[in-house]
């Protein structure tokens, strides 16, 4: 069976603005490239051949559709609610990031770009971009905060094995936001042959819309899969939120289903009562960062404030404009989850279900546990398991003290 969404049209937003959020605040040098990209994307979007090519890649390379897995032993700890995981961790390269990357790489090819650059936090987007560059025979440079290259050393090696150049960024806070700055600087200088393959639903128009369109396949698949399994829509859809790509990916198909609650879980770090967190929507306020108007962590003068999370992929002081809009109109709810709660959920999924999640996704799992306890056993909760935890084994091993002495050396 299928269930028709009520036609309230929240899904129809095409930018550049989502309510008061979005837009394009960028150096003039890059406007022509953004216009070129917008035009190429509009053409591709209307071209059945483009969609056929992308779908074929997803079928034969990514491994789509990804499955959903019901996790009853985990759910016992979540008030007995029915919990279903959308298994983006099973995608080629290990996360949902490949969906956006393959879409943009095809666009880059269409406009004749031969060089891909990307920013990365946890390294998942960098790995996915390096993968696409290898697949399409393009040059690839990935900018990664120096702090992140240290805590995600394995992904740095993966990118290099795939033939990419990884450049540690040593400016600012040396994390994801500074990697974005450095990627924009590269793009300004090399825009003629280079596509900036931005990894989340942030940045100047058309990135928030285009990236959303490439990841919304997650929710489109999941919505039908849940209906096929349970005969109904889920009561809640849950995802972690850093920049917000996996969350918008699973939310989007449900935006016009008013009975489905949408919950984004931000990185609460040491707690939002401390200064060490990355809960942009919970604790931030509107402003302009990285090319769009959204909500971000900033001081009184508008200087971006350092964020913190145990998860490199969520360690970003901003969030995509569509999320800022969904929060402002009350369509989605955003709540912080601490490092400690995320790590407990991480271990719980490992030990009850035999699935090692990415620490990013563990924030969504922790949120689902709390939500399940509130909603009770009649509820069905769909969780986006956005990535796998192989990259996090060292961090988690150290956190739980399960590394043998010398094993990590």
């Amino acid at each position: 069976m299928t269930i028709e969404a009520t036609p309230t049209h929240l899904r129809d937003e095409q930018g550049p603005f989502f309510g008061e959020f979005g837009g394009r605040f960028m150096p003039e040098s890059l406007i022509a490239a953004l216009d070129e990209l917008s035009a190429a994307y509009d053409v591709a979007k209307a071209d059945p051949e483009f969609h056929r090519e992308l779908a074929e890649l997803h079928r034969t390379y990514t491994g789509r559709p990804s499955i959903i897995t019901e996790v009853p032993r985990f759910a016992e700890h979540a008030g007995g609610a029915r919990i279903l995981l959308k298994r983006e961790d099973l995608n080629h390269t290990g996360s949902h990031k490949i969906c956006n990357v393959l879409g943009q790489a095809l666009i880059a090819k269409r406009i004749g770009k031969t060089r891909l650059i990307a920013e990365t936090g946890a390294g998942q987007h960098g790995v996915a971009t390096a993968t696409a560059a290898a697949l399409f025979g393009m040059e690839c440079v990935v900018y990664m905060g120096e702090v992140d290259t240290e805590r995600q050393a394995l992904n740095v090696a993966r990118m290099r094995l795939l033939g990419a150049t990884v450049i540690p960024v040593t400016t600012g806070t040396r994390t994801l936001k500074d990697a974005l700055n450095e990627a924009f600087r590269d793009w300004v200088a090399n825009v003629e042959n280079t596509h900036y393959l931005l990894g989340t639903v942030a940045g100047p128009h058309p990135f928030p819309v285009m990236v959303r369109d490439f990841v919304k396949v997650i929710g489109e698949e999941a919505r039908q899969q849940v209906i096929d399994l349970t005969g109904a829509l889920p009561d809640a859809v849950v995802a972690c939120v850093g920049g917000g790509s996996n969350a918008i990916g699973i939310f989007h198909a449900f935006l016009d289903d008013p009975d489905v609650a949408l919950h984004g879980f931000e990185a609460g770090g040491d707690g939002v009562d401390t200064l060490r967190h990355a809960a942009s929507i919970t604790m931030g306020r509107p402003g302009v960062l990285h090319g769009s108007r959204s909500i971000m962590l900033q001081d009184e003068d508008g200087q971006t404030v350092d964020s913190h999370s145990i998860s490199a992929g969520l360690d970003y002081p901003g969030v995509g404009p569509e999320h800022a809009w969904l929060a402002s109109i009350g369509r989605a709810t955003y709540t912080p989850v601490t490092d400690a709660a995320a790590m407990q959920a991480f271990r719980l999924l490992c030990q009850t279900e035999g699935i090692i999640p990415a620490i990013e996704s563990a924030h969504a799992l922790a949120g689902a546990i709390e939500l399940g306890r509130t909603l009770g056993e009649k509820a069905t909760i769909l969780v986006n398991l956005s990535g796998r935890g192989d990259k996090d084994v060292e961090t988690a091993g150290a956190y739980f003290g399960v590394l043998d002495a010398g094993a990590g050396a």
Binding site: P27, E28, S29, I31
Partner: protein, 267 residues
């Protein structure tokens, strides 16, 4: 040149004045609060005393996507030293008390948004500032700044890039007041050994859509480059080279470099 033109903007006046006996204007950039607030004021004054016609004072910002390593390092040092937005108005006021040259602030957009665009404009007027250069705000995204600068009479300098379409160049020219910031080359701020032909081509395109004052910046660091630029443009903008001189040799060093650069404006 055909006689007197009506000039309302102080920056335009300063640039026009250089037509009397020089090849064009020298515009110098320094960030506020580097190495300290006091020294940044002294250094800006030294720039004017040694031949800079228009000052461009940079407001340090946490995420400066148009800046190269030299300016990034200096603005980060200013932020680490406790720079606050109000220091920019203090600096403008103190500089204007000592020298006559008009002072533009160069700022990324979020600090202005957070301060309040109208309040920012009012406080800049009170401090004696001339206007803003906005590296990440283009005309099509700047409706509130267009309104506030019209209300207060402040100058607004938009950027033109080699990649801009003619339509966008026209937008920048028609909405800029003071001059149009002509981006010499694709890339971030920082000295370059050679400037390509792109800047001259771009100034030509700006002229053809009606630009009266086009000043060229990004990568300019020698009196020879300045002389070359002033062969086709109305001003040359130097930033990173001055910042480096200030970092390495203090106020005296930046004064010496300015005097040398100013020799490039001779006709």
């Amino acid at each position: 040149m055909t006689g007197a033109r009506v000039v309302e903007s102080p920056v335009a006046s300063a640039i026009e004045a250089t037509r009397q006996n020089r090849a064009g204007a020298l515009i110098g950039y320094l960030p506020v609060g580097f190495p300290t607030l006091d020294e940044s004021v002294d250094a800006a004054v030294a720039l004017v005393e040694n031949g800079v016609d228009v000052l461009e004072l940079g407001i340090p910002y946490s995420d400066p996507v148009m800046d190269g390593p030299v300016i990034q390092k200096a603005t980060q040092a200013s932020l680490d030293g406790g720079f606050r937005l109000r220091d920019a108005f203090t600096a403008v006021e103190r500089i204007r008390a000592r020298v006559d040259a008009p002072v533009l602030l160069m700022t990324y957009w979020n600090p202005v948004v957070q301060y309040g665009v109208g309040r920012f404009a009012d406080d800049l007027v009170s401090a004696g500032g001339a206007g803003l250069i906005t590296p990440d705000l283009t005309v099509d995204s700047g409706a509130d700044w267009l309104a506030e600068s019209d209300r207060t009479g402040l100058d607004r300098v938009f950027l033109a890039a080699p990649t801009s379409t003619d339509e966008r160049l026209r937008l920048a020219v028609e909405n800029s007041r003071g001059f149009v910031y002509t981006v010499s080359t694709m890339g971030t701020t920082g000295a370059r050994a050679e400037l390509g032909a792109a800047a001259e081509t771009l100034v030509g395109r700006l002229r053809s859509v009606g630009s009266v004052r086009a000043c060229v910046g990004i990568g300019v660091s020698t009196p020879e480059q300045i002389a070359e630029i002033l062969g086709y443009a109305d001003g040359a903008i130097v930033g990173s080279a001055l910042v480096r001189a200030l970092a390495d040799d203090g106020v005296a060093g930046v004064a010496r470099l300015t005097a040398r650069l100013a020799s490039g404006t001779a006709r």
